[in-house]
């Protein structure tokens, strides 16, 4: 009996390991490829493991651009934009979930409908707004506009709908102000979903490409994604540098994910549980 149970467990684990291996192959491949010499990289048929491990691709890539500055810029943009996103999205989501006011549904629908408009369509109008505000070619120009993410508002609103009104009523009877309600009750309750949003927002801003491409013109203000895509020309792609820099740019996202992952799992579990 116990033997069969263990066997079943073993099979399940084996299957899981194989599947996760499949998902890991692309990541593994790019990491290993970044350690190959350029000639080795173009070898046909390709091999997974480098013949000899070398960091020459990283060296050439770092010589080709000011990658320290690009990483700094991307970090500043990502962190600031994520902080702003978290604050305004939590507030908006809370208001839409818990305050009943005339037209609140209309506002929600308004938010949601912006999800269906791709950036390419509204690019020029936003560009004109940015230029008029004097944010063109400044990091603020890529921090502020993308910080307003309707997905975040929706995510938080849906989560907070599950918080019983009685809880807020009780706090109000005890004399808590609306601000205190928000900071001391709503924010702690919403921690899992805020973590989820933090990871998403970090990933989105870290990988943003089109909008920074449009707004930023000064090479000193380039983000990492802009710099990486400049390795792509009309006829040629500088694969060795491109792969090396992509590997480095994966690291921060990985770190953020590791920090928030417990919350993320919890968030996914609890956001599925409604009363």
């Amino acid at each position: 009996m116990k033997y069969r149970k263990n066997l079943k467990k073993l099979l399940v684990y084996l299957l899981l390991i194989i599947i996760s291996g499949l998902f890991l192959i692309p990541v593994l491949w790019i990491v290993l490829s970044s350690l190959k010499t350029p000639t080795d990289l173009y070898k046909w048929p390709p091999s997974l493991f480098p013949k000899e491990i070398t960091f020459v691709n990283f060296e050439t890539a770092f010589k080709k651009g000011n990658f320290g500055v690009y990483f700094y810029n991307t970090t500043v943009v990502t962190i600031l934009s994520t902080i702003i996103t978290l604050i305004i999205n939590t507030m908006a989501g809370y208001a839409l979930a818990k305050y009943k006011f005339y037209g609140s549904n209309l506002i929600l629908i308004g938010f949601l409908s912006t999800l269906m408009i791709p950036l390419e369509i509204i690019m020029i109008p936003i560009f004109i707004v940015i230029r008029t505000l004097g944010l063109y070619n400044s990091l603020w120009g890529i921090i502020i506009p993308p910080a307003a993410t309707p997905t975040g508002v929706f995510l938080i609103r849906q989560y907070l709908l599950g918080v019983p009104d009685e809880l807020l009523e009780a706090a109000r009877i005890d004399g808590a102000s609306e601000w205190r309600l928000f900071w001391n009750i709503i924010v702690p309750i919403a921690k899992p979903v805020i973590s989820v949003l933090a990871i998403f927002s970090f990933m989105w801003r870290w990988n943003d490409f089109l909008w920074p491409l449009i707004v930023i013109s000064d090479p000193q203000k380039y983000t990492i994604q802009l710099a990486i895509s400049n390795f792509i020309g009309e006829f040629n792609v500088d694969w060795p540098s491109l792969i090396a820099m992509s590997v480095i740019s994966m690291i921060p996202v990985l770190i953020v994910f590791l920090i928030f992952q417990k919350q993320l799992v919890k968030g996914i579990v609890t956001s599925g549980l409604k009363e």
């Binding site: 350029p38 000639t39 173009y42 070898k43 046909w44 048929p45 500043v76 600031l80 902080i83 604050i87 390419e120 690019m123 020029i124 560009f127 004109i128 230029r131 063109y136 400044s138 990091l139 603020w140 102000s177 601000w179 205190r180 900071w183 001391n184 089109l210 491409l213 449009i214 013109s217 000064d218 090479p219 000193q220 203000k221 802009l226 895509s229 400049n230 390795f231 792509i232 020309g233 009309e234 006829f235 040629n236």
Partner: protein, 437 residues
């Protein structure tokens, strides 16, 4: 009550600190390059020119050196090279132009797409016909649009044949050494078969999977995509059908590798791996192959001929834009770039083909190869330049042309059926372009 305020204060002050840090950083970094209109800086009238650029190889580095030289001579000018990926160049430029903030300069492959926003360059470069007369004839279709000179050529590309010298030597096959010895396609097919049999090449010719490279054969068979003024298409004329049937024959006999046109393999990788006899590509591969091929010898030889010899001309240009506020400085910089001395330096160091007639550039690497490519361009018919200069029409049906070629290779359609269909789409595209004018 008190605590909630405290939290609010903390958050606000954190934000404030961040803002200050940010402000501090950006001011130290951008202090010197704030735009000319609102910041009169130390030197009396310093102007900044934004130059939108994309990079294929080392030419970005070369251009930065040229810019540094120019800035030394003109201390009041600062040129800011904005590098963008080639695929997003058009999006970036169009947004900047439509958004009312056009750059001073840009490197482009199709100046015609930006004709309405382009700065007329005759005040800087002189009479348009005299200026263009020093360049390859085909370039005027790109640079003179609606009778205005809107761009200056910087370099050209030519389609051509790169071969694996090691495999050819092993098979004992000699390539033509001069334009007089050029192969016919049948002779070439026999040579490739010999290299595959005796030289051990796994693939014959890896032929770039693009409609642009395919048309090399079209022009050699005397065909073309458009008639002389692009009011109609020639794509289903007998010459084109003959060219496509011949291409199918080459593929059926494995002279042209099926792996690329029917198997989706990357021809550059196949050639680099040393298993392909030859690569039908173009002059832009020279710098790349110099750096990435270490384990065999390769070279460039003349394309075989059909009815005539032909390559296909491609080119890159610099252009300036209206309403940038620095039109005069931009025009003068283009004059500097287009001068023979500077442009020769640019193409020599970037390993590009010179856009000039009878170029006399000596390269550190592959001067002989560049001579072959230049010779190919010199003998190409006007249609091979004109067709591809019509970037207002041609992109609308080139993917259909590619699909049509594939369908014929797969045996799903005859050459006539497939090309009749492309001709229909081409005529629609022509009509559309005429209505837009």
């Amino acid at each position: 009550m008190l605590k909630s305020r405290k939290v609010l204060y903390i958050i606000l002050s954190v934000l404030l600190i961040f803002t200050l840090i940010m402000g501090g950083c950006s001011s130290t970094k951008s202090g010197s390059n704030s735009s000319s209109s609102n910041a009169p800086s130390e030197t009396a009238k310093k102007v900044k020119l934004d130059f939108v650029w994309f990079t294929d190889g080392v030419e970005g580095k070369v251009m930065k050196e040229i810019i540094a030289d120019y800035q030394k001579e003109h201390p009041n000018v600062e040129i800011n090279l904005i590098e963008v990926p080639y695929d997003d160049l058009e999006a970036k430029l169009k947004t900047m132009i439509t958004g009312g903030k056009p750059p001073a300069l840009a490197r482009v492959t199709n100046p015609g797409a930006f004709a309405s926003a382009a700065l007329e360059l005759t005040p800087y470069l002189g009479d348009k016909d005299t200026f263009m007369s020093q360049f390859l004839d085909g370039l005027k279709y790109y640079c003179i649009v609606d009778n205005r000179l809107i761009a200056a050529p910087m370099e050209v590309t030519a389609n051509g044949l790169i071969y694996n010298k090691t495999l050819f030597d092993k098979a004992g096959v000699k390539v033509p050494q001069s334009p007089d010895e050029v192969w016919t396609w049948d002779e070439f097919a026999a040579a490739i078969k010999k290299v595959m049999k005796d030289g051990g090449a796994k693939y014959g010719v890896v032929w770039d999977f693009t409609p642009h490279r395919w048309t090399t054969l079209l022009y050699e068979f005397g065909g073309s995509i458009f008639n002389q003024d692009a009011t109609d298409t020639n794509i289903n004329k007998p010459e084109a059908i003959e060219a496509l049937n011949y291409f199918k024959k080459l593929v059926d006999e494995d002279v042209v590798a099926k792996a690329v046109w029917l198997g989706g393999e990357n021809p550059n990788n196949l050639f680099r791996s040393g298993t392909a006899a030859a690569h039908l590509s173009g002059s832009w591969m020279i710098a790349n192959y110099r750096d990435t091929i270490k384990n065999f010898e390769w070279g460039v030889t003349y394309l075989p001929k059909a009815k005539i010899r032909s390559s296909v001309l491609g080119a890159k240009f610099v252009m300036a834009f209206k309403n940038s506020g620095v039109e005069k400085e931009a025009g003068e910089f283009i004059k500097y770039l287009a001068s023979k001395e500077i442009d020769d330096k640019y193409v020599r160091e970037s390993l590009f083909l010179s856009p000039r007639k009878n170029p006399d550039v000596t390269y550190d690497f592959g001067t002989e190869m560049f001579k072959v490519f230049s010779n190919e361009l010199a003998v190409s018919p006007p249609a091979a330049s004109y067709d591809w200069s019509r970037q207002d029409i041609i992109p609308k049906f080139t993917s259909d042309l590619k699909a049509a070629v594939v369908e014929v290779l797969q045996g799903k359609k005859t050459a006539k059926e497939a090309l009749d269909h492309v001709a229909e789409l081409a005529r629609e595209a022509i009509k559309e372009a005429q209505q837009n004018k």
